[in-house]
């Protein structure tokens, strides 16, 4: 049996008076697409933030490819060294940078040589089909285009793991359905490991190999899912 890419062990996290995460354990295999499903406030976003290193667990451990990245009360590896791509719920596109500059910032931070960046950026933009929008600023993009730009930014550094925090939630139903299918297709074609947080069962059903349900900071069930062929 292969070692899981992501291992979360008995993690707890309190945010103020609220027990956001209460003893969650989760293994994610390499190449797997896991959807974390649950209502608002159940702790699923906090779980992603803990994995990314944006929060520190009160107790428990987090491992990424056999390297412990977080322990009780401590972050052992900073977010930018974990090799994770993150798509935020509101996308968090930097308003003062064009789409190309957003991707360039990621590669520059990874110390990719300047002459090697352009092909990688073009590849990522082509992957999400927004090559023609490279010089646009976020406010010059439609909702769907912003979504693709955020995805390109998360993928351009070839991360080991991509975390997606309800990235489709702000889109209208038609666009949401289209992008959901595209996202699933993309995930299968590049085979990147993903953890997708959502409160929408349709999203989970289309995007995930496995669906984990959360309630009040706890994992209450998980099941294998057979996503429809896209």
């Amino acid at each position: 049996m292969t070692t899981p890419l992501l291992v979360i062990r008995n993690v707890t996290k309190r945010l103020g008076p609220h027990q956001a995460i209460d003893g969650v354990s989760l293994d994610v295999a390499s190449g797997e697409a896991v959807a974390v499903l649950g209502p608002s406030g159940c702790g699923k976003t906090t779980l992603l933030r803990l994995t990314a290193g944006l929060e520190v667990p009160d107790t428990g451990e987090i491992w990424l490819r056999e390297t412990q990245v977080a322990a009780t009360g401590r972050s052992l590896v900073p977010p930018y060294e974990r090799g994770i791509g993150f798509v935020f719920q509101d996308l968090a596109l930097w308003p003062h940078l064009t789409v190309r500059e957003q991707l360039d910032f990621v590669l520059g931070s990874m110390h990719v040589a300047r002459h090697e960046r352009a092909p990688k950026i073009n590849e990522a933009l082509k992957l999400v089909r927004i090559e023609q929008l490279a010089t646009r600023y976020p406010h010059q993009l439609s909702g769907g285009e912003q979504q693709r730009a955020a995805l390109a930014r998360a993928l351009v550094g070839h991360p080991r793991l991509v975390l997606l925090d309800e990235p489709l939630s702000s889109l209208d139903p038609d666009l949401r359905s289209d992008l959901r299918k595209e996202l699933a297709s993309l995930q299968r074609s590049i085979g990147v490991t993903t953890v997708y947080v959502t409160h929408d069962r349709d999203d989970a059903a289309v995007l995930a190999d496995r669906i984990v349900e959360m309630r009040a900071g706890r994992m209450v069930s998980q099941r294998i899912n057979a996503p429809p062929h896209i």
Partner: protein, 521 residues
């Protein structure tokens, strides 16, 4: 009411400046050019520009990192820390200068150091750095912290600060620096105290020592033009829509948490130098005075005058600014921006320039002249200087009252007066209290206009302190300076207690976020 307020605004704020401009236009252009460009004036221009730019640079270098610390690093007791860091802005600049003069004298440091342009920059930077701090903190709070978190996923915090945070907050930080430039260039007390020749002190000398109104008038030109232009640019920058990203409830203060220890140490050093040193030095100097009662008796009626005039002035200013601020809040965005620029530009008019304008306008025969030579000139000075800034504060407060609240009242049958008194003003009451205290503090420390328009035999506390410096024992002057600081801190503490007692509903009542000091988490 709005008509009356606009009338007072035009008469008190616009007319003095308008009068100056008209008088200048009536003067022969060749003499004007000669007076502006001779070697002596160029020296003045150099000193003034270096004072303004140096203060803006140093104050921003101190204040901006503190703003980042308060906005993005989790700290316990942050409200107290913010208050302590902001407190130096409440100390009248010449009082701050006085404390450093006493410190250097007592340590045997050469007077060449303190009576110099760099020392004036140092003192003014201590007083104005809280403005840079608050401008930075407010700008950072307007940015969704997820933009920085997205950066932290791929880059260390230093790179995120340089490439994400600072570009987004730069317009506001720059606007803060420009306002500090204007305030430093407009400052009269510190350059006067530290014997630095700049335009404000030269205007005062021309008028008060040489009785040369024409010369004073000409000297106001570069000051007036530069301050109004720089302030207008600052007002435009503050409104830059690029930095107004969505403000979400997820703003997390701990983005740069790893800088906690270093940031805290820096903050404590700043508090020690900008707040601890002046208070300790003044208290130590004042302790040498024999009898407190005797020293206070020397002040004559200055303390009572200052308290009464400042309280009356603050009440008048807020009464006028309330309607202007409300009208501004309900103005369309495009024309409202122009009004903002006018308010900021008028607040930036240097105090000595306002003083010259008021004298030219009111010192004349007839009914108008009966006002000149009375205490009413102080009140006119406060109206001229502080209505614009109070209107901006109250506009911010009024904007937080949803228009729908007034519409519901109107639909329910309430008239305009009833809607304003029962619906709008109660929701603005903390904003009104904040504006009143700020104007009271500014009026209580006002020196530049007051010293020009003060009637014979009358004086406020700042004027008394300023005139006592040359011929009174330092211990007596220090006691007055300390007293002035205590009155200012007491007024602000009372405001803090009022805000704290009403905190649960503070946001709904339109308290500016800086005063509110809450963390969105």
């Amino acid at each position: 009411m709005l008509g009356v307020a606009i009338g007072i605004f035009i008469a008190c704020c616009l007319l003095p400046v308008g009068y100056l401009l008209l008088e200048l236009l009536r003067r022969p252009t060749d003499s004007l050019g000669a007076m502006l460009l001779d070697a002596r004036r160029r020296g003045l221009l150099y000193n003034t520009a270096v004072l303004g730019a140096g203060t803006a640079l140093v104050a921003t270098a101190i204040g901006a990192p503190l703003g980042i610390l308060l906005a993005r690093v989790a700290l316990s007791g942050k409200s107290v820390l913010r208050l302590a860091l902001a407190a130096p802005a409440l100390i009248p600049p010449y009082v701050m200068g006085l404390s450093w003069v006493y410190l250097t004298n007592s340590r045997g440091i050469s007077p060449d150091w303190i009576y110099s342009l760099p020392a004036a920059i140092f003192v003014l930077s201590l007083v104005f750095s809280p403005l840079a701090m608050l401008a930075t903190e407010v700008a950072m709070r307007r940015i969704d912290s997820r933009l920085e978190e997205a950066g932290l996923m791929v880059a260390p915090s230093g790179r995120v600060l340089r490439r994400i945070t600072l570009p987004l907050t730069a317009p506001s930080i720059l606007a803060g620096a420009l306002l500090i430039f204007v305030l430093a260039v407009s400052e009269f007390g510190v350059p006067g105290l530290l014997r630095v020749r700049v335009y404000t002190t030269e205007v005062f000398t021309a008028f008060a020592a040489l009785y040369d109104f024409g010369r004073a008038l000409t000297l106001t030109v570069p000051l007036l033009v530069s301050c109004v232009c720089v302030a207008a640019v600052a007002a435009i920058l503050v409104g830059d829509p690029m930095v107004t990203t969505r403000r979400s409830g997820s703003s997390r203060p701990a983005v740069f948490g790893s800088w906690r220890r270093g940031g805290l140490a820096f903050a404590l050093v700043v508090i020690g130098i900008a707040l601890g040193v002046p208070i300790v030095v003044l208290a130590g100097e004042a302790a040498r005075a024999g009898s407190v009662r005797q020293v206070l008796a020397e002040s004559g009626s200055a303390i009572t005058n200052s308290l009464v005039l400042s309280a009356t002035g603050a009440t008048l200013v807020v009464s006028v600014a309330l309607w202007l601020g409300y009208a501004r809040a309900r103005t369309l965005r495009s024309s409202g921006r122009i009004v903002d620029v006018v308010f900021v530009a008028l607040f930036a008019v240097p105090s000595t320039v306002v003083g010259v304008g008021l004298i030219g306008l009111w010192n004349r025969p007839g009914i108008v002249g009966t006002v000149y030579g009375t205490d009413a000139m102080f009140l006119l000075a406060y109206l001229a200087r502080f209505v614009p800034v109070a209107a901006l504060i109250l506009a911010a407060s009024a904007r937080n009252v949803p228009v729908s609240h007034e519409e519901v009242a109107a639909v329910s049958g309430a008239g305009w007066a009833r809607t304003i008194t029962r619906i709008v003003l109660p929701q603005m009451r903390l904003g009104i209290a904040t504006a009143w205290v700020i104007v009271f503090v500014l009026a209580f420390g006002e020196l530049g206009v007051s010293i020009l328009v003060t009637p014979p035999g009358e004086a406020t506390l700042p004027i008394r302190i300023y005139t006592m410096i040359a011929n009174t024992p330092p211990s007596h002057v220090a006691m007055f300076a300390l007293l002035q600081t205590i009155v200012v801190f007491t007024a602000v503490t009372v405001l803090g207690v009022v805000v704290a007692s009403l905190r649960p509903s503070a946001r709904a009542q339109g308290v500016p976020s800086v005063v509110e000091g809450r963390e969105a988490r």
